[in-house]
């Protein structure tokens, strides 16, 4: 269909799998939604994720939903380059237009990619920030890693990012450990955006925040994703978060994608039995 223009894909996950133990056709057949488990009863192999494919375009957010243990985090870690997959590839289009196959990169190359092109916002700010150092220092970290050397420009950029994420500038030199939960998430966002990444992974970005604070952070995330035309992957067990941030979703169960669709369709007309159960539970 060429009469509808869609943005180019920035992140492509293709037939991704992560196995703990040997894999053969039997293992694949004895695991997954039909088998009702991600662990093979014969060999003991665990397929934490298998045959996971999706693509995300610039300015688009894709949701990944499923219960604990469904493989969401494994997929996120493989994209981030923290876990080496057993199968499949993850490809990212950098802001300069070149392509990087994360799954084939060395640890040093992955670190470089994480500085420039791929940022992660963790559920727990302590995983993404050093709580002992200042907000400004936390943001300066990825900037210096990207080669920024001038103290004045770094402070100026950090100030600009804090303003954009609605953190009062007078708190720039306070240690992040002294910040409220909502403010820590804002600093994490500021840090994530420091080098204009093309992809941002959001892992339960508002879990643990009060409802009113969460609403503010969500609103900010959505505006930032739009403004900077970022490709985002959002993991959350909270459907209101998924509904607000994403246009499309994949549903995972026992390490496999059981359904993909438009977010409003998945929430109003889930087709797969597992999706129906998941949505039914959230709605009741």
């Amino acid at each position: 269909m060429n009469q509808i223009d869609v943005e180019p894909e920035v992140l492509e996950v293709s037939a991704l799998g992560r196995a703990y133990g040997p894999v053969d056709d039997g293992v694949i057949a004895r695991t997954g939604p039909l088998a009702g488990t991600s662990k093979c009863a014969t060999t003991g192999t665990v397929l934490a994720a298998w045959d996971v494919s999706f693509a995300v375009a610039a300015g688009e957010a894709l949701g990944v939903i499923g219960e604990s243990g469904s493989g969401k985090s494994t997929v996120m870690r493989c994209i981030a380059g923290d876990v080496v997959p057993s199968a499949g590839t993850v490809t990212l289009r950098r802001s300069d237009g070149s392509f990087a196959t994360i799954t084939e990169m060395s640890p040093a190359e992955v670190r470089g990619l994480r500085v420039h092109d791929l940022a992660i916002v963790h559920q727990n700010p302590a995983d993404g920030l050093d709580l002992r150092i200042t907000a400004g220092g936390n943001i300066a970290d990825p900037l210096t890693a990207a080669g920024w050397r001038n103290f004045g420009s770094i402070r100026e950029r950090a100030g600009e990012l804090l303003r954009r994420t609605e953190v009062p500038l007078e708190r720039m030199d306070d240690p992040v450990g002294a910040f409220s939960g909502g403010m820590r998430q804002r600093v994490q966002l500021a840090r994530a955006l420091a080098n204009n990444p093309s992809v941002v992974l959001l892992d339960e970005p508002t879990t643990g925040l009060d409802a009113s604070v969460a609403a503010g952070v969500l609103d900010l995330i959505r505006s930032l994703l739009e403004e900077f035309s970022i490709a985002a992957v959002v993991v959350s067990h909270d459907f209101s978060v998924i509904e607000m941030l994403t246009q499309r979703c994949v549903v995972m169960q026992h390490g496999r994608v059981v359904e993909h669709g438009l977010t409003d369709q998945l929430l109003e007309d889930p087709i797969h039995p597992y999706s129906q159960r998941l949505v039914g539970a959230a709605r009741s």
Partner: protein, 251 residues
């Protein structure tokens, strides 16, 4: 003057399989054929459960149709089969060509009434500067008090929110607009203003497919009324004739 077709629905069926309730199947649409032309307002009538909202949701792809075809004819005369499009293509289409206004406003928290309407215009390709001016016009037209424009929509009353929702759905209108009870919470004076606005959309060439629960709105706005029962179209014709029939059915 023959008008161009905008929506062509043929043999559309939708059934829900309830896997977690003994796997039973519920039929919502049972072979619907329907067309809407540019500048035409087709109103769906029938009792609750007849399939009116299901039809709108199948066209918007909030429901995944089971079989049949839903074709949107674009401004160049190209026929786009909505059921064959990828999810990303549907998302792109939902901007400028396909719109849906429900009874309820769904928006980000912390957005003001004016921002919500201006955002909707931007999503349909209007530049930001013009979008704000268009949003102001739309809110004025729906008589939303100016003092409420910069207030977060979450604190507005039901009727005020519904007007914001209608303004957002109709500002720089899409080629095909689906309306699902868009004026249900409005008092008489605001309702008249809202119906005027919807009438003017049709005059400017927008194709409208609607569900209204009141016959007066249908009589006033519709070029045709399509009467549904049990997921099928049982009558399709001029409003007065079909509505007479519907009253008969209701009795």
């Amino acid at each position: 003057m023959s008008r161009t077709e905008v929506l062509d629905v043929a043999g559309l069926t939708k059934s829900f399989t309830l896997h977690n309730i003994d796997g039973r199947s519920v039929v919502a649409l049972d072979g619907v054929d329907l067309t809407v032309k540019a500048g035409e307002h087709v109103a769906l009538a029938g009792s609750s459960g007849a399939g009116k909202s299901s039809l709108l949701k199948c066209v918007y792809r909030t429901y995944l149709p089971s079989s049949g075809s839903v074709v949107l004819v674009d401004e160049h005369g190209e026929r786009i089969d909505l059921l064959s499009l990828s999810e990303r293509e549907i998302v792109a289409l939902r901007g400028r060509r396909l719109g849906y206004v429900s009874q309820f406003l769904r928006s980000q928290p912390r957005r003001t009434a004016l921002q919500i309407v201006a955002d909707a215009a931007v999503m349909r390709g209007v530049v930001r500067g013009d979008a704000v001016a268009m949003a102001e016009m739309a809110l004025n037209r729906l008589r939303l008090d100016r003092s409420l424009w910069d207030v977060h929509a979450s604190v507005l009353s039901g009727g005020e929110r519904q007007r914001v929702n209608l303004a957002a759905g109709t500002v720089s209108p899409p080629r095909l607009l689906l309306l699902d009870e868009p004026v249900s919470a409005l008092d008489p004076a605001n309702r008249v203003a809202a119906l005027d606005l919807i009438g003017s959309l049709t005059e400017s060439g927008v194709a409208v497919l609607s569900v209204f629960h009141d016959l007066e709105a249908m009589e006033r706005l519709a070029s045709r009324v399509v009467l549904m029962r049990a997921g099928r179209v049982i009558e399709d014709g001029p409003p007065t004739e079909v509505l007479q029939l519907e009253l008969g059915v209701a009795r």
